[in-house]
């Protein structure tokens, strides 16, 4: 997309007047991050046995799958040759970080689908053996892969496999999103991106966003779908998890910027100009002060000052904190992807990019893609029913 050359500050290379990666590349790491984050929430129950996360464990898996399926779509929309997109999987260039993502993606998809299949085994067989003919029964019969054995012995094996897959899934999910950070961090041409800390920052912000999203989904499910109170233990577990990861995430993000300024490398004045000229609103105010500061203070209050507060207050404040975190992480992706391109590789100037709504790479399509995983999750839930199981357990 061409940028307004009259808004260029300093000097940019002539070819840089055309922004190459727009909103699609902003939501690509955002969605991938939610995949990893949702899986981590599930793993807290499946692997570490934290019972507080049981109500959202299975939903997290379905949510993770929904986001995983959609996460390649922004890339696909971004390509000019959409039909050649599959070449990245079939004839990858082994030296390319982006091509490597194809392998990481397929591996994680494989693990996640297997994990879901084993995790929902009882549900699948139960639905397949339903006496009332329906589309759900038809689909679930296919999903049984011909085996209806849910005896105690068989289920013992299934639980073992589920646990093993969840263990394998944690590093896989972390690697998936850490790798997205590596795709940006390995571009040495761009001093706003080129950092060894980038994969860690991406990964930590992914977990933070995933935890926040799962809390919001848990709230929606309790209030609007199941119409039952949220469990205080689960709310508290979410508060602790979000607060813990948010602290580490903010420390790493601060360290990255501190490193650039303290080391005072060749790019430092240019990065300072970028923050001052182009990212004052979205980075300093949006991401750092409001997006991160507000939830940090809320969580600090909940953990430190108001540990005795009642469930309603805690869940309300946590909901606000989660919404701020989701907004902050989206802004973080924007500031990395768009901000990085607003800094000229000549290190002599910056320019301003205004997002557009209407194109196939615009905000409108982006919002649709951000909603699509939730639609997929609802469809998966209709077939695999993560709720009934949870209700039984809670009773």
């Amino acid at each position: 997309m061409p940028v307004d050359l009259s808004l260029v500050q300093g000097f940019i290379y002539p070819n840089e007047g055309w922004l190459q990666w727009s909103f699609m590349l902003v939501i690509y790491p955002y969605i991938t991050g939610l995949v990893a984050g949702a899986f981590v929430v599930s793993a807290f129950y499946e692997v570490f046995g934290n019972e507080h996360f049981k109500p959202v464990s299975r939903l997290s898996l379905l949510c993770s799958l929904g986001f995983l399926i959609v996460c390649v779509l922004p890339l696909e929309f971004h390509l000019t040759h959409h039909l050649r997109g599959f070449e990245m999987f079939s004839t990858p260039n082994p030296s390319s970080a982006m091509a490597g993502f194809g392998g990481v993606y397929l591996w994680y998809l494989f693990i996640l689908v297997l994990e879901i299949w084993f995790n929902f085994r009882e549900k699948i067989v139960e639905g397949a053996e339903s006496k009332k003919p329906s589309l759900r029964r038809f689909v679930l019969r296919i999903l049984t892969l011909g085996s209806h054995d849910v005896s105690e012995k068989a289920m013992k094996g299934v639980h073992k496999v589920t646990h093993t897959l969840a263990i394998i899934g944690i590093p896989s999910a972390c690697f998936l999103h850490g790798y997205v950070g590596f795709i940006f961090g390995s571009i040495k041409a761009n001093h706003w991106w080129a950092s060894a800390l980038m994969p860690f920052i991406f990964l930590l912000s992914a977990v933070v966003s995933g935890v926040a999203m799962m809390f919001i989904l848990y709230w929606i499910c309790c209030v609007f779908i199941k119409k039952e109170p949220m469990r205080l233990g689960t709310v508290n577990a979410f508060i602790s998890l979000l607060f813990g990861f948010l602290i580490v995430d903010l420390v790493f993000e601060a360290l990255e910027v501190l490193q650039i300024f303290y080391a005072h490398i060749e790019a430092t004045p240019a990065v300072a100009a970028l923050i001052r000229n182009e990212l004052m609103g979205s980075y300093v105010w949006g991401q750092a002060i409001i997006g991160s500061g507000v939830p940090f203070i809320i969580l600090l209050l909940l953990v430190w000052v108001l540990p005795w507060s009642k469930r309603h207050l805690r869940q309300g404040l946590m909901l606000i904190a989660s919404l701020f975190v989701l907004g902050s992480v989206l802004l973080m992706r924007w500031n990395v992807v768009i901000g990085g391109q607003e800094l000229s590789r000549s290190l002599l100037g910056t320019f301003h990019f205004s997002e557009v709504f209407g194109t196939h790479e615009g905000v409108g399509v982006g919002i649709c893609l951000l909603l699509l995983p939730f639609i997929l999750m609802i469809i998966f839930s209709l077939f695999l029913d993560p709720w009934e199981y949870e209700k039984k357990e809670v009773k």
Binding site: L5, N15, T80
Partner: protein
Amino acid sequence: MKRRDFIKATGTVTLAAGVYLTVLKPSPVNAKEEKDWLNGYDWNKHYWGFGIDSTKCIGCGSCVRACKEENDVPKDPYHFRCWVERYAHLKGEEKPKVDSPNGGYNSFPDKYKKEEVLKAFFVPKLCNQCAVPPCVQVCPVGATYQTKDGVVLVDNDYCIGCRYCISACPFGARYMNDEAGCADKCTWCYHRITKGLEPACVLACPVGARIFGDLKDENSEINKFIEEHKIITLKPDLGCEAKVAYVGIDSEVR
């Protein structure tokens, strides 16, 4: 079919498809096609080099215009295979003023008329055909590649249009060819040099500021240029090993 058999069969088919697609799939460019495409030109016998004598450049923009004509580069201010930058040190200013209006296509307006210019020079830019090219490294499908005679090219039949290479080029030498939907860049006029001709920009330069030749030929102009001058290359710290040799520019040029 038992579940175990079904899983076995599915696994075998998936594995076989994976092996075929990633390992056994024949390359679409075979040796014969490659030979035909090069039309008898042997890229093993050449290794091309480029030099810029900034002390000679007058910023006329002939090279930019010739390049755009020769290579069908869009004539807007966003797409350039080669361009010219102006560095001007003004009295009272700590850092030089740098500009490149429309890439130097229409030459440079005398905008420092009222200032006291301490020093000024023009820097013609083009693809550095790096020896360790980051664009080749990052291309997810291998559409951009390095030829044996040292030039980096883009295969339009392969490029998927992800623009990773454009973001990875430290010199801003790449752009998106909207017509082909592929990344595009300076090729040192590969279609000309493989026929024994000079690149269009070299031919168009009225002052001989651009020097091109075969580094494998001991008597070539480029070898003489490198032997007779103290040269520098751009951004050596990035490890790309840029190959365009510059004379007469300050170290602040990036």
